[in-house]
Symmetry: C2
Subunit: 418 residues, 2 copies
């Protein structure tokens, strides 16, 4: 078969399987998830062996340390995959829930029922644990999944997918419930992106260029997971001790993730009091600080920030700092330069906290807390498939409920339209 | 300015305006809507004059009677536009509602707040009333709108948009709240579809080829309003009088719309009893009936249906009829050939009604009622911008609530992530 036929066949299988998956009982789904957890644990050794091939080949190719870290599966990460499967089994099943039901004057009863989306395509890069996390989150919500991981992780992905698929087969679930695209040919993605007849949604997980390519070439709706240029604004009425702890946490606790702070905005009235100590603390933790003109005057060892800094997701121990006139200027800066991901104000003033919550146009808007909490687990949504930075369908952390759609059910006793 | 710069400027204006619109009070929005209703009524004469130009030019070009009907604005339709504006003013404002709020173990309060989508692009064809209906539905939900109507309706659209824009100006709302693309150059749409930086969603309203073109060329998320190939399945345990009334209504009451029935499925056990009278009634109303082999044997004056008939949205007094073995076969036919829009079962059997509701994968699934009820007004959602046939973001009738997004607000007292 040609590549085109191959991918088409996978998509058709997925669509066909999705119809049965949509009608599975919660009990069967949860049993399958538990058995998958076992299969992962029992085969830890095999997983590590296959993963070693990927890691060795990544080293040979001279790929970056950060990428090799994301690629590597050790005992802890394998245990985490199994744990997340067991957690998923315990989560409430969203499917079949009647969201609301109302009666019309003509006696029609109309209800909105939660149903699966259908077929979900996941396109991701080097992290092989996404193979498991994404597939099972989709399965929990009654969806069929087509997985397409990065070529760096191909041995790991095949091994993990095969373990899941074996459980699917043993449980006599439809064969197309979980499928992995096994070729590393990049055209496979292009073929997949045109199959809107069979695939309901594409979720790309990865860098900006991957997401851009997917968006530009897909006729299937895409839920984007773009970058996070997150801010903390320290108001003149902030508790400055609290502000220091929050800003430090938001930048330093894990700088390589999308909900880490990239820009600190400080009210000019407290800048001279707050910034010198704050910046020293950052510098002590190895953070490179880049500041606007005022910041550079107040503190030492600071590089001037350029226009580009304000729009950059460093994903690293680098921070840009700007002194602003007040909350208006802070909100303006965030809405202009930010990526509408996660932004925080630190203040004791109720009116300003309400204004900030209202006017900052981001997926998650914080008062007096670190932006690092933007995460499905931390929000209490259970596992997440990622953090949507778009406004359609799902915004912010996407849990199992965001992988569903709805249908209207209408119960009548002979109503016709006049 | 070039066309490209023109469209870019419109999109930028819209984005800029959307930030203020998102924070308008319900009172101001509703006052503006009422004033728009007045403006439409007061200027009925001018609207009709401009509309006459479009109608005359459509006649000159020899366009179809159906198109000229959709294009024509008379006193009744103008009154309907004004009425729908007043209705909209009375609708509840969805914006700012906190959908739910919960407390995490660490004390964080997390809430989900309804916010506008931002900028909505509406691409539509010959019906000029969409100019008003779409713009004000978007405005009610705090969105800025970019309208792009069909060239046939250009004089009517400019006249209507100018009336709305004048009210916007007088009320000192942002100038880019409602904008109409005034050129009939088709490249304008192509330019618009690439401006994902400024436009949050595109809603195309029109025929299949328009929707296909938009989907294939847009980097902005699209909410599709595809065709309706709707079914009624008459079960062997149906009340056959009720079934006759429902099927007749679904086909004949208004055949040119997407929620009208195109295919009647009849259980083989009652086919010989039910179909002859039913088909005679259809034929009496001028319906051309096309049947499968069994139907052709049972009743007279029937053309054989082809494979293509089962997938065709006739939008006309034509009906395909098929005799099926039972509910399994009916559901299979609907999920295979239908367009996942609106489908009904007529039965007195509870188990079968539940099975049908569960397994038919359509936006609206009916028991014992006509599919013609799939409509925002009939469902009690207030006005609608259309009926989405996709699964993402909105499925089925889209009211004002479907033109919103959400954001998470997080209230802390110094929480940082460990």
């Amino acid at each position: 078969m040609s590549l085109k036929e191959d991918i088409l066949e996978i998509a058709k299988q997925a669509k066909f399987s999705s119809q049965r998956l949509a009608n599975l009982s919660s009990k069967i789904k949860d049993e399958v998830l538990s058995r998958m957890a076992e299969a992962i644990e029992t085969n830890a050794r095999r997983i590590k062996e296959e993963n070693c091939k990927d890691v060795a080949s990544a080293r040979e190719k001279g790929l970056s340390g950060a990428l090799i870290d994301r690629l590597t599966l050790n005992d802890k990460r394998i245990r985490q995959m199994a744990d997340s499967l067991r957690q998923m089994a315990r989560l409430e099943d969203p499917i079949g829930k009647v969201d609301k039901m109302w009666r019309r004057p003509n006696g029609l009863l109309i209800g909105k029922v939660i149903v699966p989306l259908g077929v979900i395509g996941i396109i991701y890069e080097a992290r092989p644990n996404v193979t498991v996390d994404a597939a099972v989150l989709c399965l929990k919500a009654g969806n069929a999944t087509i997985l397409r991981g990065g070529s760096e992780a191909i041995h790991s992905n095949i091994c993990l997918a095969d373990l899941l698929i074996k459980v699917i087969e043993e449980a006599e679930l439809p064969a197309g419930s979980i499928q992995l695209i096994r070729t590393t040919d990049r055209n496979a993605v292009m073929e997949m992106l045109k199959l809107d007849e069979y695939i309901d949604v594409i979720i790309p997980r990865g860098g900006e260029s991957l997401i851009r390519t997917v968006t530009e070439n897909s006729t299937i709706p895409v839920i984007k997971h773009y970058k996070g240029v997150c801010h903390t604004y320290v108001d003149e009425e902030a508790d400055l001790d609290m502000a220091e702890k929050i800003a430090f946490n938001a930048k330093v606790q894990r700088p390589g993730v999308c909900n880490a702070m990239e820009t600190l905005l400080v009210n000019e009235k407290i800048a001279a009091q707050f910034l010198p100590g704050m910046i020293k603390k950052f510098q002590g933790a190895g953070v490179e600080v880049r500041g606007d003109e005022k910041t550079c005057k107040i503190a030492e060892g600071i590089k001037p920030a350029t226009e580009e800094d304000w729009q950059t997701e460093y994903l690293d121990l680098i921070l840009s700092v700007k002194v602003v006139k007040g909350i208006e200027a802070a909100i303006h800066h965030i809405n202009r330069y930010g990526s509408h991901h996660s932004d925080a104000i630190v203040t004791e003033n109720l009116r300003k906290s309400r204004k900030f919550l209202q006017e900052v146009d981001s997926a998650a808007v914080y008062v007096n807390a670190s932006t690092r909490f933007t995460d499905g687990g931390e929000f209490g949504l259970g596992a997440e498939i990622g953090i949507s930075t778009q406004k359609l369908h799902a915004r912010g952390p996407m849990g199992v409920c965001e992988l569903t759609s709805s249908k209207f059910i209408i119960l009548g006793d002979g109503q016709i339209r006049e």
